[in-house]
């Protein structure tokens, strides 16, 4: 009996043992707990899941043994699935995470509520480790994302053989995954990059760095495209580069758009340049006949004329002058816009420039009750810049203010402040109590050919180019003109500039025309030069010949460059005046030939273009100097003076002075009567400076001599009073050298020149 029972128990035990082994072979862990959630039994897989032997687990609470997280949040014991199953008496399934050491394990839990056998209920939990499956799912999702990406993505092994491409890659290149797989990406080579390009790329990625850049590649169908590509090396677990991932973006459209834009820009710039060149050429073409008109008008005025005839000729001259100033403005604008405007960098006295500019314009107020004054604040007034251009801007702004102000005041205010380094900040404002500008017109007044109101042109005259030119000049000097204005309550124009700080007395370079003026004072004078005049235009030839004859020179005209070369080879001349633009052989070529033939006579170019770089070209061709057309007698006289032809000196007769004045006024673009007023002011103002200078020379005060001489020179230069500025410059030079001995003689010359001026204007006062 007992043996039968024993045998039966043994059989049951054997079965139970097999079941235990069978359950242990299931990958999923199986646990049953008692009604309190304590582990009663678990399969061998639970050991593997927990990483500890299950003997230590038995009898422990599953909520403590298996702390779970759901969606990244730790579950409290009462929310643990085993607690919920036992609480609710119901089955439950779900996904949870388990933190095991450094790993996050994903678990799928299926729990059953059972009430069998043992006292009280139990829970049977089946736990599946789905970490890997979830990882695979994640990878599947990422893979789907890569596949769906808009950018072309390609993966290669470490040798560059394709292991995977996405759909965008296939659409971009025309190669499917099957076609690209196992191939090198060199299937995309377009031949547009050299070997060094690819070598550089490989060097970069093999060193472990990311390569990115543009590349022109070739599609399967042979068409080219441009892509922006980023190639990232991916290191394997052992640190060696195992793969490369390239992400490509098709930028062909963008490149095409950029190219279109570039071409459009080039075309627009070309058109604009052509326009500017056309304007410059037109101006040139107009200036040439204008030269004759003005020249002959001036010559005619020297003849015996009836009052009516004189009036007519004067009108011709004045009209021509106005036309010329208009052309000058257009030429200025086109020079600026064609980038042909050259700026000088010289030291000048800003205070003098301003004072004299205002003095120049004051006569323009006439009888209107308008007060024009300067408000200058600052300690330092010697600046480095382009005095002619700055003066042009100030003249324009003040002139505008005068033009549009019937009563009240116009204030030109300048503030200078020293800044760190060698710079000065200059704040300039011109305010008036004039008609003002309506708000909606403020925007357009700086545009070329624009006045605030079309009707203003008729009432106030002018080309409307002044502000446009001024704005561009200030812009080129690094500033901007702004305006505040309301209709009826005046306007204020402002601009700020940063200028170099100049040292008084260190003149640096000087404007060319004043260099010429300085030369006059020291040049030995010789009346009656033998001049070869090469000029193809008969009218201009006549004018120049007449002018030169009247100055007492002998003139041999040549109609072409070739003729001039032949004549210069056969005869000795003191000077050649060479028109630059002549048919057949131009002045440049003629000059080169003359220089090659060893002819050293001074050659002065005559040109109407005077664009940036011209002077350098002339000098390179072997010319010594140039004069701008239309040629005025004054300029001609001064240039000739440099080459020994005598110029205006202090000994000039009153009639000579008058001629000079006409020329200077022309050059400054102002009325002769205004110039005369300024001149008279100058004589009055500088008398005292002259006395002080003499006293300083006698007293041996070198610093005072230098300062005063510089002051006189500067003012005289602005007024083109070469006979005054010449000796003053020599005195300044002597003082700078510390030796005042030559100053006595120069002082005598200066005094004579001044006396001559006074004498000349005595009758006019």
């Amino acid at each position: 009996m007992k043996d039968r029972y024993t045998a039966q128990i043994d059989a049951l035990r054997s079965t139970l043992g097999k079941i235990e082994v069978a359950l242990g072979s299931i990958a999923d862990a199986i646990i049953w707990t008692d009604g309190e959630g304590r582990v009663q039994w678990c399969s061998a897989s639970f050991d593997r899941l927990m990483g500890r032997p299950r003997i230590g687990i038995l009898g422990k609470s599953l909520t403590e043994l298996l702390p779970l997280r759901e969606h990244g949040v730790d579950l409290p014991p009462e929310a643990h699935p085993v607690s919920l199953i036992l609480r609710d008496g119901a089955d439950r399934a779900g996904y949870y995470e388990l933190v095991r050491g450094d790993d996050l394990v994903s678990l799928e839990l299926t729990g059953h509520f059972v009430h069998i056998g043992s006292p009280g209920p139990s829970a049977i939990m089946v736990i599946r480790d789905v970490t890997q499956a979830r990882g695979i799912e994640q990878i599947r999702l990422q893979s789907a994302a890569l596949e769906a990406a808009a950018n072309a993505i390609v993966m290669t092994d470490h040798l560059g053989y394709v292991t995977w491409v996405n759909g965008a890659f296939s659409r971009l290149t025309g190669y499917s995954l099957d076609e690209a797989y196992g191939k090198k990406l060199s299937i995309l080579k377009s031949g547009r990059h050299d070997d060094a390009f690819y070598r550089g790329l490989w060097e970069t990625i093999l060193s472990g760095s990311v390569w990115q850049g543009e590349m022109i590649n070739c599609r399967r169908d042979g068409t080219l495209y441009t892509e922006y590509q980023m190639i990232t090396p991916v290191r394997a677990g052992d640190g060696a580069i195992g793969h490369f991932i390239a992400i490509k973006q098709d930028i062909s459209d963008r490149k095409a758009a950029e190219e279109e834009l570039r071409q459009a820009k080039t075309a627009a710039e070309g058109a604009n340049r052509a326009k500017s060149e056309f304007l410059a050429n037109m101006s040139h073409e107009i200036r040439t006949p204008m030269n004759s008109i003005m020249g002959f008008a001036a010559l005619l005025l020297d003849e015996e004329l009836s009052p009516e005839q004189r009036d007519a000729v004067e009108t011709i001259g004045q009209s021509a002058e106005r036309l010329l100033s208009l052309i000058n403005e257009i030429l200025d604008l086109s020079r600026i816009e064609s980038d042909g405007m050259a700026f000088e960098e010289i030291t000048f006295d800003l205070k003098e420039l301003v004072t004299e500019s205002v003095a120049l314009l004051r006569p323009g107020i006439g009888t209107r009750p308008v007060e024009l004054r300067c408000d200058l604040q600052g300690d330092w007034w010697h600046v480095v810049g382009d005095p002619l251009r700055l003066r042009q801007v100030i003249l324009n702004l003040v002139n505008n203010a005068i033009k549009f102000t019937d009563e009240g005041e116009i204030v030109l205010s300048l503030r200078t402040a020293e800044e760190a380094g060698d710079t000065l900040s200059l704040a300039c404002a011109v305010s008036d109590t004039g008609i003002g500008i309506a708000e909606d017109q403020v925007e357009t007044i700086f545009e070329a050919f624009s006045q605030a109101d079309g009707s203003t042109t008729r009432r106030y005259g002018g080309t409307g180019l002044g502000l446009a030119i001024s704005q561009r000049l200030v812009g080129l000097m690094g500033g901007e003109i702004t305006v505040e204005s309301r209709r009826g309550s005046g306007s204020t124009f402002r601009f700020d500039l940063r200028l170099g700080k100049g040292i008084p007395g260190e003149g640096g370079g000087k404007p060319r025309q004043t260099e010429a003026a300085d030369a006059i004072a020291s040049a030995p004078t010789k009346q009656g030069l033998a001049i070869l005049l090469a000029e193809d235009d008969p009218a201009n030839q006549k004018v120049a010949t007449a002018m030169l004859h009247r100055m007492g020179h002998r003139v041999s005209p040549a109609g072409t460059g070739a003729e001039a070369v032949g004549m210069a080879a056969d005869h000795d001349y003191d000077l050649i005046l060479m028109d630059v633009q002549m048919p057949e052989m131009d002045g440049m070529e003629a000059t080169r030939r003359l220089r090659r033939a060893g002819i050293t006579v001074p050659i002065v170019a005559m040109t109407a273009s005077a664009m940036k770089g011209d002077r350098e070209r002339f000098l390179a061709a072997g010319m010594d100097d140039y004069v701008a057309k239309p040629i005025s007698r004054d300029i001609l006289r001064r240039v000739l003076g440099r080459y020994g032809g005598g110029g205006e000196t202090g000994r000039a007769a009153p009639s000579g002075v008058t001629e000079t004045m006409q020329g200077i006024a022309e050059e400054l673009g102002i009325d002769v009567s205004d110039y005369r007023d300024i001149l008279i002011d100058f004589i009055g103002d500088k008398r005292q400076d002259l006395e002080d200078l003499r006293a300083a020379i006698d007293g041996g005060d070198v610093a005072a001599v230098q300062h005063l001489a510089h002051k006189i020179k500067g003012s005289a230069l602005n007024l083109r009073l070469d006979a005054v500025s010449g000796p003053a410059a020599s005195i300044e030079e002597a003082a700078r050298g510390g030796d005042l001995s030559p100053a006595q003689g120069e002082m005598e010359r200066l005094r004579r020149a001044f006396d001559a001026l006074e004498q000349a204007w005595g009758g006019s006062l």
């Binding site: 128990i9 035990r13 139970l16 043992g17 049953w32 039994w41 003997i55």
Partner: protein
């Protein structure tokens, strides 16, 4: 690692020995004294009388597996397990369980030191 004979001879440590069916065949004096059992209440009884309720299922399953396969997962290592005393209490004790094959049958023995 002691042998069954050494266990049976030991007097300084409580010892219990069972056959391959889990029937208790030997307990020493120190075991009876330590865990308040009478010899006649244990000899011929199943080991289950010494195993608390919560461990019984696991014991049955594990012992059956050992019976069928000879593979034990708890042998030859010190284990902290609870044991039921003769007066019905449950105490913790360090079990060191060994198994020896004798004449074709397994003999299982354990030293059980109270903790």
């Amino acid at each position: 690692m002691p042998t069954i004979d050494q266990l049976m001879a030991a007097s300084d440590v409580p010892v219990v020995i069972a056959d391959q069916r889990g029937v208790i065949t030997f307990v020493n004096e120190l075991f009876l004294h330590t865990f308040h059992w009478e010899r006649e209440d244990l000899i011929g009884q199943a080991l289950l009388v010494l195993i608390p309720e919560t461990l019984r299922d696991a014991h049955q399953m594990g012992f059956s597996r050992f019976y069928v396969s000879g593979e034990g997962t708890i042998l030859n290592q010190p284990l902290a397990l609870e044991i039921v005393t003769g007066d019905g209490a449950t105490v913790s004790a360090e079990h060191f369980i060994i198994a020896e094959e004798r004449a074709g049958e397994w003999v299982v023995g354990a030293s059980v030191r109270p903790l």
